[in-house]
Point group: C2
Chain length 300, copies 2
Amino acid sequence: MSRERVSIVEVGARDGLQNESTTLSVKGRVELIRRLMDCGLTRIEAGAFVSPKWVPQMADSDQVLQALPSTEAVSFPVLTPNLKGLEAAIAAGAKEVAVFGAASETFSQKNINCSIAESLDRFAVVCEQAKAAHVRVRGYVSCLVGCPYEGVIQPEQVVPVVRRLFELGCYEVSLGDTIGVGTPASIERVLTALLKEFPASWLAMHCHDTYGMAIANLRKGLDLGLRTIDSSIGGAGGCPYAQGASGNVATEDVAYFLRGEGLDCGVDLERLVETGQWLFSQLNKPVPSRVNRALSGKLS
Amino acid sequence: MSRERVSIVEVGARDGLQNESTTLSVKGRVELIRRLMDCGLTRIEAGAFVSPKWVPQMADSDQVLQALPSTEAVSFPVLTPNLKGLEAAIAAGAKEVAVFGAASETFSQKNINCSIAESLDRFAVVCEQAKAAHVRVRGYVSCLVGCPYEGVIQPEQVVPVVRRLFELGCYEVSLGDTIGVGTPASIERVLTALLKEFPASWLAMHCHDTYGMAIANLRKGLDLGLRTIDSSIGGAGGCPYAQGASGNVATEDVAYFLRGEGLDCGVDLERLVETGQWLFSQLNKPVPSRVNRALSGKLS
């Protein structure tokens, strides 16, 4: 019996690592990405072309990209918040880039130092140049249902940002519950509003497990037809807005969940567990993923 | 607008503490239960009448019961695996007791040293005597979808055990995913089988968060009409079958989730967070609850 397919976008080597206090070398990041490929992952965020002054964890992302194998089977999107970043990414051989917007004005101001409208103007230039270079652009929208500064975010704030990203040419928009405050009810409200305008296949879910709600929220997204999930190996990327809290939902947890639900994501769960263990030994901290802890305890 | 009600059965002071390595004194357990009452909880497991040789954490449960306030507003069920335990519980003033069975033969043998059939015969005597003393009996069934020894457990193994517990006079049966391996799909299969015979209002969900699936599984149970949830303050009760893994779903996580879903469980989330912090300072370890970590980080 063939199982229905779900696509995982592995964000540990970018979104994960850039929120960890330990910085991995270029060599370490390349090894991480190679290990993730060996797990069967085919969409692996590989870096960010941003100032190393602000995000030292992503310094020399060009060297990471250049050290990766040239393969059609795996995509390595990189974050390019502006034209300078895009040009550097293209020079390093990027075939896919990403822009990162927000549904909250305050979060946009604090995170990227401009209004939502200004950020979208900036992304328009990035998207235009990317298109000319035959580079695909993925959009992110953060603060899907809640903002660390503004509190509750309404679907009416999210829809126009997503709409604009598609107008600019993004092939997919990843919907981020950045601080993990959503529950299935709030996720359903915003997804229902979005699905009135956009097909489910254009949308990805990016859930944080800060409050332990990520898997329940992903189940709701699957119920509504979404089939693309962002996750981070081991749960890398502690949430900077909630002290002592976990951040990105772990790829191990997502893979375990999907298997239980009879859905196929094409990854090897045991290898994911090993890779999560390896990464967190590099980061010198216990792996946040509950599935990893449970299975590695059993395996050891 | 009045919100639909969900009943939480707080199991931290029994199921939680008996799986923690630190033993709380009678005074400590009474203080925990009083704090839980102050959170608004009205069903609070208070102890177990078992041999202190096997479960030292529950020693002197009679003294705990006797130190609690006499109130009709809160029930304090205690575990009574056999007639001797029941008699001691009644002598200490118990108005509600619980029996703990399993859907897995091997788990029954390893956990209570007898077959499932033998355990049910034992519970029959307990239920008969409890009825004569006007004491309510709650049933537990462990290994709802998986067993640490046998692996997958089928609905056909669960239904007859639940049926027998109702025949014996249990007013409610709590369905335990003891090792937390379930996902919404397996939970739906077993609940659907049970709901063919029993009304949803007779059944409670007892989920462990070992694999981070508890909230998603609870959402599935709510979808199918169940309205009673067992949970443990702070997530007390690390799972003894999966090293380094968490056990019972945390009451804080359940309360946060229910609030998000527009359901009322009558508890004060901030007080729960404080109580979880207090308990884990007594246990000398970090609180497992993700909601507790996220909110206490913010509050501090």
